[in-house]
């Protein structure tokens, strides 16, 4: 079972403290490629949430059977197999949803967020906790990618929710800036994503520094936040 305290710690870690995109800086490759608009960012995150929760549960359930020395190849095997199975089942059973989410699922196989959570959390915790960890890490990614995608879309083309009609055919994208807004191509291209992601990280650190300063009172020194980074 899971205690209330444990639950809120997992939740806060996933959504803010250890946010995959802003603190762990993981999974940059799909992040850059996909967040050209809000809808894509949300869709990739939803696909990641599903895969991460399932992979975490599977690894947590099998964790006592996996020898320490070969855990990484076994994790990769489990994650890759599960992602492929999820991909196939989605394609067969929820074809409409697959047409929207489908292109994102294979991207997740190589996404080190999944492997990182499996290694750092599911390997040491029971299935229920691991499921919540996968879920909330994904939620943290969801809001970050939605924000990043929304900003890029708004600055780049003056719209919001473009592509929403692929998910809900009845809805139309919003044109927020005047139709003759020339657009800023940079925001749409990968460098724009880097710049905006940098701004978001700075904003998060600023919020935290301010909160810490208020908490500790004026004059106290705050240890710099530890940034755990990784390639890809």
């Amino acid at each position: 079972m899971i205690s209330r305290e444990e639950f809120s710690q997992i939740r806060d870690n996933g959504i803010w403290q250890q946010n995959t995109s802003l603190v762990q800086i993981l999974g940059l490759c799909p992040l850059l490629a996909v967040t050209t608009n809000l809808v894509n960012g949300v869709m990739l995150s939803l696909a990641t949430i599903i895969v991460m929760a399932i992979a975490n549960v599977a690894v947590a359930a099998l964790r006592n059977l996996i020898p320490h020395e070969i855990r990484i190849p076994v994790f990769i095997l489990i994650v890759a197999a599960l992602v492929t199975v999820v991909d196939l089942i989605f394609n067969a059973q929820f074809h409409e949803l697959y047409r929207v989410l489908g292109i994102f699922i294979p991207l997740i196989v190589t996404n080190c967020i999944v492997l990182a959570r499996v290694e750092a959390f599911a390997n040491k915790n029971p299935p229920l906790q691991s499921a919540f960890d996968g879920l909330f890490m994904g939620v943290g990614m969801l809001w970050t990618l939605a924000l990043l995608g929304g900003l890029r879309e708004l600055i780049g083309g003056g719209t919001l929710f473009s592509g929403i009609d692929m998910v809900f055919p009845a809805l139309l994208p919003l044109q927020l800036l005047p139709a003759n807004y020339p657009g800023l191509l940079l925001a749409m291209l990968p460098p724009g994503a880097f710049i905006l992601l940098g701004c978001l990280i700075a904003w998060k650190n600023w919020v935290e520094t301010r909160a810490a300063a208020r908490h500790a009172g004026p004059g106290s020194h705050q240890a710099p936040p530890v940034v755990v980074s990784d390639s890809v």
Binding site: T36, N37, L65, I66, P67, E69, I70, P73, V74, L77, I78, A81, T84, V85, L88, I89, N91, A92, Q93, H95, R99, E153, G156, G157, T159, S162, G163, D165, M166, L172, Q175, A179, P182, G183, L185, M188, L189
Partner: protein, 223 residues
Amino acid sequence: MTPLLRAPSAARMALRTAIILLVFVVAFTSLLAAAYLWTRPAIDAAAAAEKMKLIGEVLPADLYDNELLSDSRQLAPSVALGLDEESTAYLARKGGKPSALVFEAVAPDGYSGRIRLLLAVAADGTLLGVRVTQHKETPGLGDYIEPRKDKNKERPWIRQFDGLALALVADREWRVRKDGGRFDSVAGATITPRAVIKAVHKALQYVAENRQQLFAASQGGSR
């Protein structure tokens, strides 16, 4: 772990680890194989339905009554279609008579790479419709060639081609307005429409030149 062996030899350890890894590999490969076999029929059916839906966008349903996906012919690679591999064309028939051809073409000179097109041309040479099936044009800029991404929902850019024919549009008019042609384009993104217009024009010429074989009633005449 085993009380009998206080310090298992390296070889034993390696063997044990290898066996465990093997068990995992076999278990998860079987899982994959089972999932593949189980989902195959549904995925095939969905893929066929999707193909028909895409064809339906370029080919009006009242123009054919045959089983389109099984009435196919292979087209040899050709420069005119921009294809360097064989492609499949589908012959639409109404009451047994060939009425239209659905085929693929590629615009090789898009802003970022190849743009794949699906075209439907009626037996009399009229272009029934064009759709972009694959491209890598800049999101939010060049991707208006895809009606889903086109901000103009009333009359998406790609529909300008509907109903055109070589007989109706002179050669020099197969250009964007900016270059003296008849086609609209979005300011700042003219390389993309130029590539599409050129590819459609060449595809129509290809159909005009190979009409006999393409619309041959028997499948034996496939090239």
